[in-house]
Amino acid sequence: MNTTPANVLEVDGLVVAYAVKGRRAQPFRALHGVSLDIRPGETVGLVGESGSGKTTLGRAVLGLAPVAEGEIRYAGRVISRLSARERRALSAEIQVVFQDPYTSLNPAMTVGDILTEPLLVSGTARASAEERVRGLLDQVRLPADAAHRLPREFSGGQRQRVAIARALCREPRLIVCDEPVSALDLSTQARVLELFVEIQERTGVAYLFITHDLSVVRCVSHRVAVMHRGRIVESGEATAVTGDPRDPYTRRLMLAAPVPDPERQRERRERRRSLKAAAAE
């Protein structure tokens, strides 16, 4: 893989292994040599089922998972083996939105404190930090008085907006989104996805968008990578991967997701059955 400085993120042959309890146990490999890259302003969707390693990949990019082999580069610079101090410096560049809006916000802190904290740590004066928070709340369509309230006073969708605002507050170039809409209701989900796209179009931030939901990934991603058992089995333009998948696993995944239309779902079911029958032979 050639290093193109134009890429925000490059992951190259990444292996993540966790130590397993027990003296003779082999370390557990969550990723077996994964490579991908993300360009500025681009959304790369990472789809997979539980245990596929998609979340591990996101955590490795954030420096929260142990890298055994391979490299992660941010803007051309290797970031997979940084000291704690260097990693902290990178926090202005790479940010995160987690799946669960209930546990990703400290329940004891007001929304204002949650949002100003990263700014104060980076040396911003309190007055300008507060000014910035007002702007951020407006950006994510939350009322200005939200700053004085606690997370538990907000619904799931609103909390996720707070998490997005926190990710945005230091104007990063890359946000790792780990299942950011999976815990949300249908109608809320659509609006939060719109917000993600809108912010990207305005700020040019890039997303690594991790999800199990093919329909979500299709409507936010420019390109899609499908993960299965710690490997990327298929990747390419979103229209291609989700419209005409080549890999048998991707096909199975596509056909397993039900469509909200009884007629078409019947067809899809039949196709899935025949695929399954063919695979069984």
Partner: protein
Amino acid sequence: MTHSATRDTPGTPDSAPGTTRRRGHPLGRLLRHPMAVVCLVLLALIVAASVCAPLLTSAGPTRATLADAFAPPGGGHPLGADSVGRDVLARLLYGGRVSLLGGFIAVAVALLIGVPTGLLAGYYRGRSDAVISWLASLVMAAPAIMVLLVSIAAIGPDTNATMAVLGIILAPGVFRLVRASVTSVREELYVDAARVSGLGDTRIVRRHILPVVQAPTIVQSAQMFGVAVVIQAGIEFLGLGSAGQASWGAMLNDAFANLYTKPSLLVAPGLAIVITVAALGLLANALRDALLETGAPAARRPGRPGAARPSALPAGGDDSLLAVENLRVTYPARDGERTVVDGVSLTVRRGEVVGLVGESGSGKGQTAFAILGLLPPEGRSEADRLSFDGRDLRGLGRKERNALRGCRVAYVPQEPMSNLDPAFRIGTQLIDPMRRHLKVTAREAREKALGLLERVGIAEPERVYHAYPHQISGGMAQRVLIAGAVSCDPDLLIADEPTTALDVTVQADVLDLLREFQQERRMGLILVTHNFGVVADICDRVVVMRTGQVVETAPAGRLFAEPRHEYTRMLLDSTLEDAPPRAPLRQAPATGTSLQEKV
């Protein structure tokens, strides 16, 4: 588990309405607790009386006047005098100093050792954690009395030194508590988020971890203080405290020596200890309530549909299996009650699949539980009509209800793993209901269970039959639960989000399985879900709910083709399956196939 999609797990205590959380500053919350105020006032009085002992009595605590031995209360001795004529009141007041100082020393030592080590071990884990945890378990395993006796034998009878040793004995308890709190917070996503935000370790500990550790530590400190007062009294009672000082334990010793002649000497020191320690214990309880928010609502007897009222419609009739009319479910709340299901009516015919669809808070799950009679104890339900196969379900006795449940009406839950009893083999859990309802022998039940396991697509039925729940995967557990639900050939199956916790590929298989059973046995099926794809896949009719009410009921085909209610339309518009895919990024790609795999 990335797919446990919605927080809408109806009926779990977590979401059960009525568990409203209290708000406000912790100290304010504490002061609203009448018991806490009483305890704090009592303790303040005890502290003040001990500190101001010389002002309250002119008598010396150790001055013996043999002429006054066993003097009754009154005159020179407000509370009387002991066996050698020492003033009881003075001994009580000065003894309080000894008790309070001892308790303070023990708690301070325990906190000074336990808190930093707990933070260190919980936050950094690794080797330091292993070493400290080992030391802690060593100290915990040593019987406290042994350590105290040995240290008294070594250092000599010195109350304060002994209390410091007690602090060391108590420290592992603090360590474990702090470590456990830190470990649990450390797993929270908000700590990960803080780290990604660029916060250093010290700041994360100060801002995000210490506040969580604080409350349980304060509660434990109050408890430890009480324990220390009790143990110190015991040491003094045994005569192993500092020589010649007045203390509550020494007073009890004197009372013990004169148990036959003057048992009333027990009263003053006994009351002093009991009041002090009880105040500390009750304060700890109040602190826990105020700081740790475990406000579970007062439980009532299990909710049951209200007394039978004459129904507007004749029961039974067509081939309707289940008829529900004007179902209401309420929970007690601080201001009266909260209605979570408000006038729901629905029918299910034999062989029909009815989807109960809605977002979180729509009451779809609560409706299902109310029909099953499985609401949490504090929930109450009533209906104008609730009949199953012509039988009125309202006011059924426990026995009749149990005869119906599992046998003719069965339930498939949402979270497969938490719905199997971890302590029993899967086989046992399958055959128990069969033996009860079908009156078959153990052997027949076993045969049937194995057959069912095979039927639900489990490759090695024998192995799974003998396995414990923690040995199988979530998808398999859901198959086991479906096997259990259909084991007694029910007429109606109520499935509460049966595929929400599963992967898409497993979901498709589980839906196929439900469909096969339903068609084969002409079962009625109520499927609670938030996923319109699932609805399209399996449902004949759909009931759309919002905030406890039914907004629209329609055959599945019509609902998708022409939704009538605007809420249904909004929901269907929010589904992304038919949304256009996002266009490729406009700027030219840097490399041809930059997103490539390297296996």
